[in-house]
């Protein structure tokens, strides 16, 4: 009789182990969406990127995002050309932007327990070879071992030596833009 229970016990163990991730294993996300939004009285400009890669280390709280810049897609092709150009992001010379940071309130996040946790991430953002310290808030959601991060941040273009003194971009592009990031880790 007791031998009949063995397959059920194995099945239960597999389900339990697959539902909760072992703390400490580095999580990887290749399922990232980044939105860039600029608002001025003249025009709203939005672009989306689905090709970034991110890692999250639950024990140390280290977070890394690597973003291929030519993957930002705009509604207007001319804007996309301007975005990639030497005067703006110079994506041929600097094809990737990067964020490296650490979750400051790591103790408040239990990666083994379902829930939504407010996170404060301090780190460095590098765009076009200019690095600056940033501190951003986000929400980390844990659901049966699957971890996702959502954050909204403001980015002042001049901080990364991105500015226009003439042309359409100087009037139609906001000086500070909104960045929304959503990443699902496995």
């Amino acid at each position: 009789m007791k031998y009949k229970l063995i397959p059920y016990l194995i099945l239960l163990s597999v389900i339990t182990l697959s539902s909760f991730r072992i703390p400490g294993a580095k999580l990887i996300s290749r399922d990232v969406h980044i939105n860039f939004f600029s608002h001025t009285a003249l025009e709203d400009i939005s672009a989306d990127n689905y090709k970034a890669i991110a890692t999250l280390e639950p024990i140390t709280g280290e977070v890394v995002f690597s973003v291929p810049m030519q993957s930002f897609e705009f509604a207007l092709p001319l804007m996309q050309k301007h975005f990639n150009s030497k005067d703006f992001l110079n994506t041929k010379k600097f094809p990737k932007s990067k964020f490296t940071g650490v979750i400051a309130n790591l103790k408040e996040i239990d990666f083994s327990k379902n829930g939504s946790y407010n996170a404060l991430v301090n780190g460095r953002l590098t765009i076009k070879d200019v690095s600056r310290n940033v501190s951003e808030k986000g929400v980390i959601t844990i659901k049966y071992g699957l971890v996702s991060i959502v954050t909204k941040m403001k980015l002042t273009l001049a901080d990364y030596k991105i500015s226009f003194s003439k042309g359409k971009a100087s009037t139609n592009l906001a000086k500070t833009i909104d960045i929304t990031v959503s990443a699902n880790f496995k």
Binding site: K51, T55, V64, P95, K98, T100
Partner: protein
């Protein structure tokens, strides 16, 4: 206002209007690049482009990336290593062989998704798309990043 002044004013208004319409047409009616209808710049295997990037990323970027973002169009052959969907419901097919450190990540479009849907892991395929960035080891991620291609479609299987 003299007749001459009126003619000058009408002329200025006319050319101003013409310039405005031309700028509007240039900015707002420029068509998006149709990657699949353009000619392929390079045909190569997934492992060869990965190795090219790992050997000399600067030289490879110079060869494949363009300043305005309209980078080279590639037809890449390789083995389907994995298949997934991104947050825009686009299929992402990774071409990678078992010995390569990185592969070529090919993102399909709403129009070409159906061609990715039928692909099986281990199948040998040829995929056409535009390159967005190259492969390389990132010490912060502690991972090899794949070559990224977008606007992809299946050429043959």
């Amino acid at each position: 206002m003299s007749k001459l002044s009126r003619k000058i004013l009408v002329g200025i208004l006319f050319f101003g209007l013409l310039a405005g319409v031309s700028i509007y047409r240039y900015v707002y009616t420029m068509k998006a690049r149709d990657v699949q209808s353009e000619q392929t710049d390079f045909t190569l295997s997934s492992s060869s482009i990965v190795n090219e990037y790992l050997a000399n990323p600067s030289k490879a970027n110079e060869k494949y990336l363009s300043e305005d973002g309209d980078s080279k169009i590639l037809s890449v052959s390789g083995v389907v290593f994995s298949k997934s969907k991104d947050q825009n419901s686009q299929f992402v097919v990774l071409l990678k062989d078992s010995v390569s450190k990185a592969g070529v990540s090919c993102t399909f479009t709403a129009e070409t998704n159906h061609n990715a849907e039928v692909l099986a892991i281990g199948e040998h395929v040829l995929i056409k798309g535009v390159i967005r960035s190259g492969a390389g080891y990132d010490p912060d991620l502690e991972l090899y990043e794949d070559v990224i291609m977008e606007k992809c479609d299946l050429i043959n299987r």
